[in-house]
């Protein structure tokens, strides 16, 4: 270790850049080029802002998933959790418990964060205290949260009823801050906080240590179960933030809200360079991964030469090619 540092004295060049971390951004750039060939409107400000805003839900959920996966866990329940948290929040908004619409909204947001944290804590406790594999534990809670949502809505939709609340809440998805859509600001904030916690705090180092080798982490005195639990709570909070952006978009949830989002979030994390087996976490790569997923879908829809029946196949192929490009970049370094 000391040998290599002394052999290469303070000479920074592009070779020092971790290609693994850069690779997702290269893939994103290639996709942007591809998109501009497919349709001239692709690089338009409206389209890009639409697409990036759309990806906000998955991006924010995936920030949480980066923590869970880096610590060697997995959470399959996030899609159902979105539906569950959003439904309860809308029902609270409809209850009219607080007269002042602004206070009502703030209370609802706090409630959503609380429910999200509790849902995440439940996932964490089942895996750590209950000692059940995270795949099975969260598969179970995925069914539970989805089932409860279907029951709450009686299979139909849960819709916001007070128009003045809707009017007040709408800008949270459709509004802009200095020309930047608000959901993108939320993504940036979540990523900055996430990156700070993961890279700059003792807890962040513990997360990566637990993910790379649980036993070693335990012998080093890291409270493994507590670290794992907190990652699931972070995941729950991220889901709640995504819900806060999701609710104002259509103002309603249904039994199919958030279906398959868990797989999209996991794909975003892996495309972004985080290892599925744990031990490595890349927040900015994850955000990039979420953008890539949404942009692939957008390019397909804007193209005129792809049959609507083949969309899924080509999306899958593009994701695999993006991963292969990343791998080859890493091997060369």
């Amino acid at each position: 270790m000391t040998d290599t540092t002394s052999a290469a004295p303070l000479r920074r060049s592009w070779r020092d850049i971790d290609l693994r971390a850069v690779a997702p951004f290269v893939a994103l750039a290639l996709l942007l080029v591809l998109g501009s060939f497919v349709n001239p409107n692709f690089l338009g400000l409206d389209n890009l802002s639409n697409v990036l805003t759309r990806s906000a839900f998955i991006a924010i959920i995936a920030v949480g998933a980066t923590f869970v996966i880096s610590a060697g866990g997995l959470d399959l329940s996030v899609g159902s959790m979105v539906a569950f948290v959003a439904s309860l929040t809308i029902m609270f908004l409809n209850s009219g418990m607080i007269g002042n619409p602004f206070l009502m909204l703030v209370a609802a947001m706090l409630l959503a964060m609380g429910i999200g944290a509790l849902c995440g804590l439940a996932n964490g406790l089942i895996t750590t205290v209950g000692r059940i594999e995270p795949f099975i534990a969260t598969l179970g809670t995925m069914g539970i949260y989805r089932g409860l949502t279907t029951w709450l809505s009686q299979g139909g939709a849960i819709t916001m009823r007070q128009p003045e609340l809707q009017q007040l809440y709408r800008p949270v998805y459709f509004g802009k801050v200095f020309g930047v859509p608000f959901p993108l600001v939320a993504v940036a904030l979540s990523a900055i906080v996430g990156a700070f916690v993961l890279y700059r705090t003792a807890f962040g180092r513990h997360v990566v240590a637990v993910g790379s080798n649980e036993d070693v982490a335990r012998y080093s005195g890291i409270p493994v179960n507590r670290v794992r639990n907190v990652t699931y709570v972070i995941q729950g909070l991220c889901v709640a933030v995504a819900c806060l952006l999701y609710i104002p978009r259509l103002g309603s949830t249904s039994a199919t809200t958030g279906l398959m989002w868990e797989l999209q979030a996991i794909t975003a994390v892996v495309v972004g360079g985080t290892a599925l087996r744990g031990g490595v976490g890349r927040i900015w790569g994850t955000i990039c991964g979420a953008f890539i997923l949404e942009i692939v879908g957008n390019i397909m829809l804007l193209s005129n030469f792809v049959s609507e029946y083949l969309l899924g196949a080509i999306q899958g192929a593009i994701i695999i090619i993006a991963m292969l490009v990343q791998r080859s970049l890493v091997r060369r370094s």
Partner: protein, 316 residues
């Protein structure tokens, strides 16, 4: 002493009730439907329970048992459970018809009256059912197509499809038949998976891709929710109207209120389960012939008739 008086009263009451029931034939109808997993099936559950109450109030001897099942396998079990309770008739909306054929056939072979609703097995004849009640998928597309042809014969239309399954294809073929011979141009067709969020995305991309869109056909009320939101966000004024379908309370309300973007809706009602139950009950009580195939029209819901199809208490 007191005990025996109570005993006597009880005997008398049973005798009286027996006399009352004797006036009305005793019939048990089992209703097996999929569990509410999305808007339309939620409507089916709502209407099955609503009509069951109405029918039982009308015929004191009638007992209607409504059972919901989440998938085909548990529905097969539910049908067997219903059969052991001593049915006179089975009304079934199969979650997946072909795997359920044997369970249905068992009931039919035992000499019971069988009504299949909406989703037909590949051999749909009187060897498996007495009555078949269904909506009209090709007509759902055709009615929408003909409306567009009549209102805006030169329109540029974008289509949001459901999922790549036969029902969806039938609706598309019906639509093409409906607009045949006009100058209507279909700019694009993409799948929205009968899901609000996916339809929102697809519509956003359609709006980016096509500078001028006159009409949107989504064939489904749930998807229309996402489409309307996307149009509203883009502040595009070129879209004249959106045609959805099914008859959900939200869309029917918009038609009633004269919403410019939703002038009409095409009916594919979950209430058809009620049609099937009422016809089945009629077979026992009114002695009218009901065996055969009963296909509902894909009625065009307009401002004038919307109130007939509006159920504010339904989840759908």
């Amino acid at each position: 002493m007191r005990k025996s008086i109570i005993g006597l009263t009880a005997v008398a009451m049973v005798a009286l009730m027996g006399a009352a029931q004797a006036e009305d034939k005793k019939v048990t109808i089992g209703v097996s439907i999929p569990a509410a997993d999305h808007g339309w099936t939620a409507g089916v559950v709502f209407h099955a329970e609503r009509v069951a109450k109405l029918l039982m109030a009308e015929h004191p001897g009638l007992n209607v048992i409504v059972k919901t099942s989440p998938d085909a396998a548990s529905q097969a079990n539910a049908v067997q459970d219903l059969a052991t309770q001593g049915l006179d008739a089975l009304v079934i909306l199969p979650s997946d018809p072909d795997p359920l054929v044997n369970a249905i056939k068992e009931v039919k072979d035992a000499g019971k009256f069988v009504t299949i609703v909406d989703r037909a097995p590949s051999t749909n004849d009187n060897s498996i059912r007495d009555l078949y009640v269904a909506g009209n998928n090709p007509a759902l597309g055709q009615t929408a197509g003909e409306y567009i042809k009549a209102q805006t014969p030169d329109a540029q239309v974008v289509v949001i499809r459901g999922l790549p399954i036969p029902i969806d294809q039938q609706r598309q073929d019906g639509f093409d038949k409906g607009i045949a011979g006009s100058n209507i141009k279909v700019l694009d067709r993409q799948f929205g998976n009968w899901n609000r969020d996916d339809a929102f995305k697809v519509m956003q991309d359609f709006l980016t891709k096509h500078p001028k869109i006159d009409v949107v056909w989504t064939q489904d009320d749930d998807m229309a929710v996402g489409v309307l939101e996307a149009i509203d966000q883009a502040k595009r004024t070129d879209i004249q109207y959106v045609i959805a379908g099914a008859g959900s309370k939200d869309m029917v309300k918009k038609v009633m209120d004269g919403d410019k973007l939703i002038p009409v809706d095409v009916l594919y009602p979950p209430a058809m389960i009620g049609t099937a139950m009422a016809l089945t009950a009629a077979n026992f009580y009114d002695q009218i012939p009901v065996r055969g195939t009963y296909i509902l029209d894909a009625t065009l819901i307009t401002k004038d008739n919307a109130k007939d199809f509006y159920f504010p208490d339904s989840p759908f």
